[in-house]
């Protein structure tokens, strides 16, 4: 049966199991928008194309399905670049569809023409320029397959206007992906398994480094089995939070630049690191020259190009984490590691005493308290917290205890400010039954707050907690530590966020006292519509502990002790 390229596009996307798409129309994508009337897809109109990509990303991370974002050519397409780079670095499967000027006009600098496939080469897993209707079906099928298989990532499909308009025979079955060079399904050799198992068996002081790959691969049960069976303590990356319940006795917590000091110490003292679906990002290793000097390293990773990129490893098991662990687990014996675990326990020292969550607020509103209270109020339900980038993101990671996978969505690798609100919209669309909380700084919120209109237009129940300290807080913190407290360009003059929310018809409250936090969260949970809280927290609070960039992982800047004095001496 004959169909236009535009009709084929939507039909293929539907057949891929997608129900919702995020987009913004424009000239070169108009034929596709016109054809939406024949489609069952629910289109969510965003306010900026970057928002569409983050929504698709949030949708993908909340559900594990492929997210779809749509934009027109030229500026519509270039606005998507940040979202694609974000998805690329965090291995998130999204497909971005952009309109392109007519195929005869390509290269002529036509109105709203840009070479988006050229621009996005380094920030997509793969991209396509489609100039004929009969290429649409196969391209969409390939794009979805590439986006979600192996190490997931963003795929761009740039479709010329004439390819959308012209017609051809549509045959889904015949349009099978043809990717002779693409081999996402790798698996280790038996000898490599043996080496890894021998290392695990003979290790006295092992630590598992647990990353995002565990969630992507769906290896949660296997990870837990390995942990329980081997009695191996676990340090988690930012994107790995939730892959093992925070309450699991062997879950040490987050590692790295703002990880707990004892977690980093444990890594430095370990004799074996078992890296599961993580890539030794500089934020988790600190100085590579001094990183885990006594440890042998096993790297289980689906992307062969990650092996030995940052950290030289002794055994690499390249393959799907879940499949690899299924092979490994039966050969791992239960070993008594109480000596090692006691040692780690002692490393904690007075950390709990220094921990701000256990300290009185003395009339101050600390971000850590806000987040910890939010956790206590929302821990029982199906909650997704979506964070932005900066201090609030680290406090969330420290003080919100994630028990379940896909309960934290955050921009880790690229550190994209403005990610949280749109990603939360995507998460809510993907999992409408979940309680979605945006935890965002006052700086990042203003980068994409135009999407409040999308929240209202789609009538989405999204809860927004602005951690407002009147600064670009993390940058200010670096200026405090490393630039002599020269707060260049970090103080912010902000709008009244509560009034801003009201202008959109969103219920809001400005909160300056800790006693208001719990009632506000409770009220938000009862309210059926979106809410926004402007938490005016301590302005010059600092995320502790911290590994300065380039320092050894266990060389941490600690919270001045005791904080009680600092808090009281106002």
């Amino acid at each position: 049966m004959k169909k236009t390229g535009a009709e084929i596009l939507w039909e293929c996307i539907e057949r891929e199991g997608v129900t919702d798409i995020f987009g913004y129309p424009g000239g070169a994508i108009l034929p596709a928008y016109d054809a939406l009337k024949h489609s069952k897809l629910h289109h969510i109109l965003v306010r900026h194309e970057q928002g569409a990509t983050h929504m698709a990303d949030g949708y993908a991370r909340a559900s594990g399905k492929v997210g779809v974002a749509v934009a027109t050519s030229g500026p519509g397409a270039t606005n998507m670049v940040t979202g694609m780079a974000t998805a690329m670095l965090d291995s998130s499967p999204i497909v971005c569809i952009t309109g392109q000027v007519g195929s005869k006009l390509i290269g002529s600098d036509a109105f709203q023409e840009t070479d988006i496939t050229g621009i996005t080469l380094p920030v997509t897993k793969h991209n396509y320029l489609v100039t004929r209707a009969d290429e649409v079906a196969r391209t969409v099928r390939e794009a979805f397959y590439v986006a979600k298989s192996g190490r997931p990532g963003p795929v761009l499909i740039d479709i010329t206007k004439d390819a959308q308009q012209s017609s051809c025979e549509f045959d889904w079955e015949a349009a099978k992906p043809q990717l002779p060079g693409y081999r996402p399904d790798l698996s280790p050799a038996p000898a490599e398994y043996k080496q890894a198992i021998d290392l695990i068996q003979s290790s006295k002081r092992p630590v598992i480094l647990l990353g995002h790959g565990a969630i992507i691969s769906g290896a949660l049960r296997e990870v837990r089995e390995l942990v329980d069976r081997g009695g191996i303590p676990v340090a988690v990356t930012l994107l790995g939070l939730g892959a093992l319940p925070a309450s699991h006795p062997l879950n040490l917590g987050m590692m790295g630049m703002h990880g707990e000091a004892w977690v980093n110490h444990a890594i430095q003292e370990a004799d074996l690191l078992i890296a599961l679906g993580m890539r030794f990002d500089d934020r988790v290793t600190g100085n590579l020259k001094t990183y885990a000097p006594n440890a042998k390293k096993i790297h289980v990773e689906i992307d062969p190009a990650e092996i030995n990129k940052n950290v030289k490893v002794d055994v690499a098991l390249v393959g799907d984490l879940r499949e690899v662990l299924q092979e490994v687990i039966p050969h791992v014996d239960t070993v008594d590691r109480s000596e090692w675990l006691d040692f780690i326990d002692k490393l904690k020292g007075d950390a709990a005493v220094r921990d701000i969550q256990n300290l009185p607020d003395n009339g101050h509103l600390y971000a850590a308290h806000v987040i910890n209270d939010l956790w206590r109020q929302t821990r029982d339900g199906d909650t997704i917290v979506v964070t932005d980038v900066g201090q609030h993101q680290m406090w969330e990671a420290q003080y919100y205890k994630h028990e379940k996978e896909r309960s934290l969505i955050t921009s880790g690798g690229l550190g994209t400010m403005g990610f949280a609100l749109p990603a939360a919209i995507g998460a809510k669309v993907a999992r409408p039954e979940a309680d979605v909380w945006v935890v965002v700084g006052d700086g990042g919120f203003q980068m994409t707050m135009c999407e409040l209109a999308t929240v209202v237009q789609e009538n989405l129940k999204v809860n927004i907690a602005i951690i407002n300290n009147g600064f670009l807080g993390m940058v200010r913190q670096w200026q405090e530590f490393f630039y002599d407290k020269n707060y260049a360009a970090t103080p912010l003059v902000n709008p009244d966020f509560a009034k801003l929310a009201q202008a959109y018809g969103i219920r809001s409250e400005t909160i300056t006292e800790r006693s208001r936090v719990v009632p506000a969260v409770q009220a938000a949970r009862k309210h059926s519509g979106a809410v926004l809280f402007d938490f005016k927290v301590e302005q010059e609070d600092t995320v502790y502990p911290m590994v300065a960039a380039g320092s050894a992982l266990n060389d941490m800047i600690r919270r001045p002790s005791p904080i009680v004095e600092t808090a009281a001496d106002e």
Binding site: L121, P180, G181, L186, P188, Q195, P304, K312, V315, A316
Partner: protein, 184 residues
């Protein structure tokens, strides 16, 4: 050290850009890159030489495989292979110099492909150092213009090309690192 990769790619628009963009993005410096057809019309073959240590070479290989259009990568640096570069060298050759230049060309088994009153153009094929050698001895006469194709390489012996073998079936083995082993 200089590594030589033979890379089989799908013969599609934009694939050369993807490959060269990868080297730029990962900050590897291409010494020479040639691309051309193979015995299969749907497969193109690149010869890429790049300065890299062993570990970098392995990562280049792994990163090339991440490109969806890359079919097969062979690092033939440590294998017996034929390496050829082709150069055309236009030399200033006045009447007196002409016979000397012709003599040098014949010593290097190069061919004269164009003769003009003031110049000779010599075509030479061979390994890079042979061409460098000819260039060296011609320089005193005045090299007016020169062009080189960059290296093309082929493994010696009976084994067929990656383009004709059944590429999707054979999982390629990335050169293992010392102390690390895994297959790809």
């Amino acid at each position: 050290m200089l590594n030589t990769f033979v890379v089989y790619v799908e013969n599609k628009p934009g694939v050369l850009t993807r490959v060269s963009s990868l080297f730029r993005r990962r900050a590897f410096n291409i010494d020479s890159l040639t691309v051309g057809r193979t015995e299969k019309p749907e497969v193109s073959r690149m010869t890429i030489t790049v300065d890299a240590d062993r570990d970098q070479a392995r990562r280049i290989e792994a990163n090339l495989y991440k490109l969806v259009n890359v079919l097969l990568v062979e690092n033939i640096t440590h294998e017996p292979a034929m390496m050829r570069d082709l150069a055309m060298i236009k030399v200033a050759a006045t009447h007196e110099a002409r016979s000397h230049v012709l003599e040098l060309a014949s010593v290097f088994r190069a061919r004269v492909v164009d003769v003009a009153p003031e110049s000779l153009t010599i075509e030479i094929t061979g390994a890079e150092d042979k061409i460098d050698g000819l260039l060296e001895v011609l320089r005193p006469y005045g090299v007016l213009e020169m062009v080189r194709t960059g290296i093309v390489a082929m493994r010696r012996g009976g084994k067929g090309s990656g383009a004709s073998s059944d590429i999707p079936q054979g999982l390629a083995q990335i050169a293992p690192d010392e102390g690390v082993s895994y297959s790809v």
